[in-house]
Symmetry: C2
Subunit: 422 residues, 2 copies
């Protein structure tokens, strides 16, 4: 069983919005044993959407569309799916009443009261559905749909979901429960996905390991991906090949003993969180060039209040001194971007927040501020703790955003290494 | 002229990595007057990639692929593109020497020295190119390619680019300069894109405005998108319709005078930065539930050191008191998530960093911590300045990540409103 996904929206196609729905749906379908063949992004143009549906229907068993269900004229997914499946659009009166009640509820909460006629027109548009479709109850104002081909027509079921990720996710259980989707899921066989992560190894070396054991892992679909310096090995397999996976895992654990940091799919964030909880330690940050992104990432996990005390964003040099207690003469002598200042920031974060672990980051993210001695991409990361300290000087490629993001990942790994190796 | 984009990589298809290349390329092509029809994401499977190329070649004038040029066996884009265009794969000796030199340079900087034979095999693989292809010099280790159909074969030019965004972007100018690409670009006519942004209006009301002037803006392609509470109107047009755009802009500026905050495409970040610079003010933050994300976003812009002093991440209640000077009894009386504490945080940020403007954020991002009176999604945002203060209580839907991200956007708009209305 294979599904194809169509993401609609000129804002996604032209890069103004990055799509979060395609990956989310793909991940859910894979978990249900439904493979994903292709994801197609199209703009708000009927001909392109129609072409995408036609091409995907040829070699997939189920299609899922996202977006284009809003109240405006450029939201045309329902009508185009109806055309593809050979069905007329009809007004669903019960649905119209339901959407009206939802919109009235939202309006009541808002300071700005919109024109009722405008809202009524939008509601009418959103209540037009393909004849015979299964209607999925709105989470926002847009209903979802499951549309099968008209009687006597070839094709596959199409699940039509709204674009806002919260609405789409809220509607997903109902979509899976619809009879045409259940029929596809019943024919799917489970697909297991396993992930191993390494920090600091080369993709080319991994290729040698995979080559050596190739004839013993023929039933595994192995993909490798180097991202933010982490080398990720993701393997998918059907039940009949499950006994091959230990061969792969053992080979990687042996060949890359020094760099494997997760064999259960856990991210570096999860490894760090677990290690902090195990020790009963709390962490604090003092960030210059990353401007709070490390603290933001540390607090992204639910329950992080158990081990994150807080942090300092010391963007101006004065803040490094007043908030993190970095001596002004240290900055004058070594420069704000130096090992000495990074270490003082790490110690200052610990002192200011009263934690066992502190991270200090200072660097030149660019595009300006670089010098011959300290070009853009020069970053110092320091970690301080009662049982030891770590420091790393980085020379990172890429633009401002890339330097900042990569620095956060390096800092997390430095924390991980301190916690797991000392 | 229309281009199709193929993003390859099982890690993208299955949602482990979110694609940054497709949108970037689409934006660049649109700027050159080349429309983008569809973006297709495929995994590392030759049959799916071949199908995607075949389908896109039918109704596009140029194709661009990203990813699949690495040194491992699952990197197969070059070979599949060669097959599609009817060309053999050949070893490019000059390219092999060049990649070898690059790899040697990288190895010299690393602590961990990989197996030379493994690297040589990877280099050999990356130096295999379709016969007759234009080779684009590597930025990392992977070369780019421009591959035209073999003599006598139908088809369109295909630009083959590596997956790492920094490498892809570095190679882009060379790709545009390749003769087969230049020939397509010369036949493109300029396409202008203009953006208007609003904060707090309804998409359904906008639909009424667009409907009213529909017959005077027939040459404009207007798309609307509601995202993070911002309503975005993006319009694309060819030179012959340029005189219709002022009609659209005037209608929106009249009907939505209270909510339009940008008619030149500027983001709220840019509006805030400009307003701070105009006043000569600096900003500081004290964040609880957003954990540094607002500071991270404020410092994302180059040159932000001119107006961002820094911030406090006061995740633990103790940090709210010790760092931001929030009286402990205020927290006891009103709770950490309250208007009073948000306002004290805003004032505390100003005092700690010595700035004119301070932002305080406290809330319940979930999934735990909600109560009947203060459910998950309850957030207080306060802005403090010498000329006035603002406060807003939010009740946000969605998961932890959605609550945190939306809070950052609301906080930026509260800062904007304080700066532009007082």
């Amino acid at each position: 069983m294979r599904a194809g996904i169509v993401v609609t929206g000129t804002e996604v196609l032209t890069g103004r919005v990055s799509d979060r729905n395609g990956p989310w749906i793909a991940d859910r379908l894979l978990g249900l044993g439904v493979d994903v063949g292709r994801v197609v992004v199209v703009g708000d143009r009927p001909a392109d959407l129609l072409a995408a549906l036609g091409q995907l229907a040829d070699d997939h068993d189920l299609l899922v569309t996202t977006g284009g269900l809003g109240p405006t004229a450029d939201d045309l997914t329902a009508a185009v799916v109806a055309e593809h499946q050979g069905r007329a659009m009809v007004l669903d009166e019960a649905l119209r009443s339901r959407i009206t009640a939802i919109v009235d509820g939202v309006v009541a909460q808002r300071r700005h009261r919109p024109d009722p006629a405008a809202l009524a027109a939008g509601t009418h548009k959103q209540a037009m559905v393909p004849d015979g479709a299964v209607v999925l109850a709105p989470v926002g104002t847009a209903p979802g749909l499951v549309v099968t081909p008209a009687p006597g027509r070839d094709g596959v079921p199409i699940v039509v979901l709204p674009g806002p990720p919260g609405e789409l996710r809220g509607m997903w259980p109902d979509a899976l429960a619809a009879a045409p989707v259940r029929a596809v899921l019943e024919r799917a066989s489970p697909l297991t996905q396993r992930t191993i992560r390494m920090w600091g190894s080369w993709e080319a070396e991994l290729a040698v390991t995979l080559e050596r054991i190739a004839d013993r892992i023929e039933g595994l679909e192995v993909t490798t991906c180097l991202r933010d310096g982490e080398l990720e090995v993701v393997t998918r397999y059907r039940p009949e090949s499950a006994d091959q996976y230990p061969t792969l895992q053992a080979a990687i654990e042996t060949d890359f003993a020094a760099t494997v940091f997760s064999v259960d799919g856990g991210s570096v964030d999860e490894v760090v969180a677990g290690a902090l909880i195990d020790r009963g330690w709390r962490i604090a940050t003092a960030e210059s060039c990353t401007g709070g992104l490390l603290a933001g990432r540390l607090t992204a996990r639910p329950g992080s209040s158990a081990y994150v005390a807080g942090g300092l964003v010391v963007y101006a040099n004065e803040a490094k001194t007043t908030l993190a207690g970095v001596p002004a003469e240290l900055i004058t002598t070594h420069g704000a971007v130096s090992r000495e200042v990074a270490e003082a920031l790490a110690a200052g974060a610990r002192a200011a927040l009263g934690t066992e672990l502190g991270v200090g980051i200072t660097g030149i993210a660019g595009p300006d501020g670089g010098t011959r001695d300290k070009p853009v991409g020069t970053v110092h990361v320091a970690v301080s703790s009662p049982t030891g300290c770590r420091h790393r000087e980085l020379h990172l490629p890429g633009d401002r955003d890339a330097v900042r993001q990569r620095t956060v990942v390096v800092a997390l790994h430095e924390v991980r290494l301190l916690l797991t190796r000392s």
